[in-house]
Symmetry: C2
Subunit: 480 residues, 2 copies
C-alpha cells in the first residue's frame, strides 16, 4: 500500500510540473485505444478509398476538438486534411505538417500477418505498438491531437495561430503537394512550416532537423532471352540478365560505399560553422548501432553516420531476377530488375542526379530506352536497359541562425533536454515544394523511435516515444 | 469428296510404309486424351502424395499393356516405376529411362493459371499441349507406352528384352537414384541405358546425345543489417547486401560469359575426332535462335551454342534482395540471395567445382559459413556469406565409336533422317550414378521441342514432337 501511495505521489508531483504529462498519465489507456483505431484503417498509397477513409476520420477527430477543418482536394489525389485554430492577438502562425498515408505492405512478412491489426509487444521491457504507420507518420498526427486535448484539459491557452496540414501522398513522393499548397496559399500560409515526420536520434533524445535529403528513384530493367530458358541447354550462350545487372550495378560504388558515377558529388553545398558545431555536439551512436544491427562493417570510409547524412546516396532498394530459395529453377531469366533510390542534399538536383546514373548506364554500353523495348530494339542492340524515371524533389536546409529557428529550438528544449540539432535528416520530406509554395522555412521535428522498422514489415512505435511526442507537440503548440 | 478420298489414300499410303505412324494417325484423339489425363496429375517434386499418384497411374498403364511392373521403393523417396518385357531368345536388354516428376511451378506465371490443367494452343499454325511436364519428361514415358501399343497393334514382335525405369526424383537432382539402382542391380541390368529426356536440336531434327552435363547448385546469402533499414536514415552508412552481392557476382564472369573463377576450366576432357566431326555435321541454329529469342548478343566469344555445351557453366538462376516494381520500398535490405547453377562436363568434379566458387568467395574477403550466421559471427566478420551446397553429379560422355552406340544410331536413323549426334547435351541427367550402379553405358534420346519452356511457366510439347517421339521410341523397342 505504501508503494502505491508513493507512486501516486510521484505522479501528482509530475502533474504540478508538467500538466501535459500529467494529463497523459491519467489517460493512457484511453489514448492508446483511440490510436489503435486510427492505425486499423489501412493507408497504403495505392488504395484511394482507404486513404479517403483516413482523411474522413481525421476530419472527424479535428471537428470533435472544435478545430475548423476542411479537405483540400484535387481530382485523383488523396485530399489534404487542413485544420486551423485562430488565436486572438496572435503574432505568429505555426503550421504543423504530417502525413497519413503509409508505405506498401507485404502482409506475409509481418509477424501476425496483418499490418492493419495493431498489436502491443514488449521489446526489452518496453511497450511498442506494431502496425503500418504506427511511426511513419500517424504518430505525429495523433501526438498533435493529444497535445491539443492535454492543453485544452489543462486550460493552457494558445498564443499563436495554429494550422494543421496533413498530407495523403507522401509515401508516393508527394507529387501533387506543391500544386495543392499553391492553390491554397492564403489558407496554408504561416511563419514556419514544421514537418512532424521521421525518427529521433538513435540515442532516443529529442531531435530537430533543419533539413531533409531530397529523393528520387530509377527502376532499371535489363534483358536476356525473350522467355526464360533452361540453364543447361542454353547456359553460357544466352546472355543472363542477372549477370548483366550485377555487372552494371557493381561498379556504381566502391567497397566503401563511395559512388563512382562521374560527378555524383559535384556541387554539394558545404555545411556552415553553426551546422558543423551542432554535428560535433550530437552523440555518436555508431558503435552501439552496429551492435544493435549485427553489422561487422559500415560504409563511409570512417565518417560517422550523422556526417554521412549530409552526402547524396545511391541505394539498391531491391533487385530481382529469376527466383531464389525453394522457388529457384534452373533457368536463364528473361529480365533482371533493380530499384535504385537516390537521396539528394542541398546543391544537387534530382533530375541531374538521375541523368548522371543514366549517362553511366549508357557509358557501360547500354542502349537506354524509356519504354518497354520491342523485338526490333532488342535485336538491334547488344545491351538494352529500360530505365523508368520516378518523380522526385530536392533537399532543403534551413539555417539554424534564423530567429524562428532559435525560437523553435527554445520551445522544444522547454519540453526535453538536451535536444539534438541536425543540419539534415537522412530521410526525405518534400520540403522543396513546400517552401516554394508557402514562401516559409521548414524545420523538421520527428518523434518516432529510430528502431521502428519504418518502410518495412513490423513497423512499430515505442509507446514512450508517443508520450514524449505529445509533450514535444504541446510545446510547439504553445509557441508565442 | 474427291479431296477426302485423296487424303485417305495418302494416309493409307503412309500405313503401308510405317505401321507405327499409321497406327498413330488412326488414334490421334484417343492418344491425346490419354496424355491429358496423365498431365493432369500434379507432379511437383515437393509433394510426395502427388508423386505416388503418378507412379500408381504409370503402374496401371503398364499393367494394362501386360508389362510386368513393380514399384522399386525406399523410405521417403518417390518410387521408381519398373517394367519388364522378356523376349524369348533375346540377345540384348535395352533399358529405357525417363522421369515422371516435374519442376516447381508458380501458377500465377502460367497463362490460364493452372499448370495441371493441360490445354491445347496453336503456335505458328502448330498444335501444342501446355502443362507442367508436357515435355519434361512425361512425354518420353508416354511415347514409350504409345510405341508399345503401336507395335502390339501392328503385330511387330520385339527382338530384345525391354526394361522401363521411370524415376520420380530427377528434378530434385536424383539424390537416391544410384542407391536405388544399386539395390536392384540384377533387375535393372541391361546392355545399354537409354535416357529418354531433354529436347531435340533447335532445327527440330531428331537428336542423339552421347552425354549430358553434370549439375550442382550453390545458394549464397550475404548480410546487411539485422533488419531492413530506412534507406534515407541509414543510406551510405549501413552496408547494402544487394550491393555486396552484385559486387561478389559481377567479377565471377567477364562480359563474354567466360568464368573468371580460378581453375574453373582446368581438367576439361577434350573431344575425340569422331565427336568433333559429329559437331561439325550438326546444323548451326545460332542466328535463327537469336532472332527467336530477341537476343542482340550472345556469350561465348564467337563459339557456337553446340560447341559451348561442351564447357562447364556458372549460371545465376536467380537473385533477390528487397523488392522491385510495385512492391519496392525505400529500404536497405537485410539479406541478398543468389542461386547459382553449375553445369559440369567430363573431367570436372562437382564437389571440386563448388569448392572453386567457395574459394573465390573467400578470396573476395568473405567469411564463408555453412549455416545461418548468428550475431557473434556477423559482428566479428566484416563480410559473411552463408553458402548452401546442394548435392550434385558429374557429367558423362559415351564414346560414339562403341558397337552399341553405332547400333542405336542405326535404329534411330531407321525412323528419322538426318539424325544429329551430340557429344554432350546441355541439360543434365544423373548419368554418372546410373553408369556406376548399372555398369552399362548411357545414351540420351530426347524427343521434346527445344522451345518447350522447360523448367519455366507455360511448359509445352509440340504435338508433332510427340508423334515423332512415338516413332523414335518404337524404333528403339524394335532393336535387335
Amino acid at each position: 500500500m505504501k508503494i502505491v501511495a508513493l507512486f501516486l505521489f510521484v505522479c501528482s508531483g509530475a502533474f504540478s510540473q508538467n500538466p501535459v504529462r500529467a494529463w497523459r498519465t491519467q489517460h493512457e489507456e484511453q489514448i492508446l485505444s483511440e490510436y489503435l483505431k486510427l492505425l486499423a484503417i489501412p493507408n497504403v498509397a495505392a488504395d484511394r478509398t482507404d486513404l479517403q477513409k483516413n482523411a474522413d476520420t481525421l476530419m472527424e477527430m479535428l471537428n470533435t476538438r472544435h478545430v475548423a477543418a476542411q479537405l483540400l482536394t484535387m481530382p485523383n489525389v488523396p485530399p489534404i486534411v487542413f485544420g486551423e485554430i485562430k488565436t486572438p492577438a496572435a503574432k505568429r502562425t505555426i503550421v504543423l505538417y504530417a502525413h497519413y498515408d503509409g508505405q506498401p505492405v507485404t502482409p506475409a512478412d509481418w509477424d501476425g500477418g496483418d499490418p492493419f491489426k495493431p498489436v502491443f509487444r514488449e521489446v526489452n521491457g518496453e511497450r511498442r505498438i506494431y502496425a503500418r504507420s504506427a511511426s511513419d507518420d500517424k504518430a505525429a498526427i495523433f501526438a498533435q491531437l493529444m497535445a491539443l486535448d492535454a492543453l485544452q484539459a489543462s486550460h493552457i491557452p494558445l498564443k499563436a495561430n495554429i494550422k494543421f496540414v496533413w498530407e495523403g501522398e507522401e509515401e508516393a513522393g508527394s507529387p501533387h503537394l506543391e500544386e495543392m499548397l499553391n492553390g491554397h496559399r492564403d489558407l496554408i500560409h504561416g511563419d514556419v512550416f514544421l514537418i512532424c515526420d521521421g525518427p529521433v536520434d538513435q540515442s532516443r533524445q529529442q531531435t530537430i532537423a533543419f533539413g531533409a535529403r531530397g529523393d528520387t528513384h530509377l527502376e532499371i530493367t535489363v534483358y536476356g532471352p525473350k522467355r526464360e530458358l533452361h540453364s543447361g541447354h542454353y547456359g553460357n550462350w544466352a546472355p543472363n540478365p542477372a549477370l548483366m545487372l550485377v555487372q552494371l550495378l557493381a561498379r556504381m560504388k566502391d567497397e566503401n560505399g563511395h559512388v563512382l558515377i562521374p560527378h555524383f558529388y559535384d556541387s554539394v553545398k558545404p555545411l556552415s560553422e553553426t551546422e558543423k558545431r551542432a554535428l560535433q555536439e550530437a552523440p555518436v551512436n555508431d558503435a552501439k548501432l552496429m551492435e544493435e544491427l549485427w553489422l561487422g562493417h559500415v560504409e563511409g570510409g570512417g565518417k560517422h553516420l550523422l556526417e554521412l547524412l549530409n552526402l547524396p546516396t545511391l541505394n539498391i532498394n531491391g533487385i530481382s531476377s529469376g527466383r531464389t530459395g525453394a522457388r529457384a529453377n534452373n533457368v536463364i531469366p528473361a529480365t533482371a530488375i533493380a530499384d535504385l533510390d537516390l537521396r539528394l542534399v542541398v546543391g544537387v538536383d534530382w533530375r541531374g542526379q538521375q541523368q548522371k546514373v543514366i549517362d553511366y548506364v549508357k557509358a557501360q554500353g547500354y542502349t537506354v530506352v524509356e519504354s518497354e523495348p520491342n523485338q526490333e530494339t532488342l535485336l538491334k542492340n547488344a545491351k538494352v536497359a529500360y530505365v523508368k524515371r520516378d518523380s522526385g524533389y530536392n533537399a532543403v536546409r534551413t539555417s539554424m541562425d534564423l530567429p524562428i529557428s532559435e525560437d523553435v529550438i527554445q520551445a522544444v528544449e522547454s519540453a526535453h533536454k538536451p535536444v539534438i540539432k541536425l543540419p539534415t535528416m537522412g530521410g526525405s520530406v518534400p520540403l522543396e515544394g513546400i517552401e516554394r509554395a508557402t514562401g516559409t522555412h521548414t524545420i523538421t521535428i520527428p518523434i518516432a523511435n529510430h528502431d521502428n522498422n519504418q518502410h518495412s514489415a513490423n513497423e512499430n512505435i515505442r509507446v514512450q516515444n508517443l508520450w514524449d511526442g505529445i509533450e514535444t507537440m504541446a510545446a510547439l503548440l504553445e509557441m508565442r
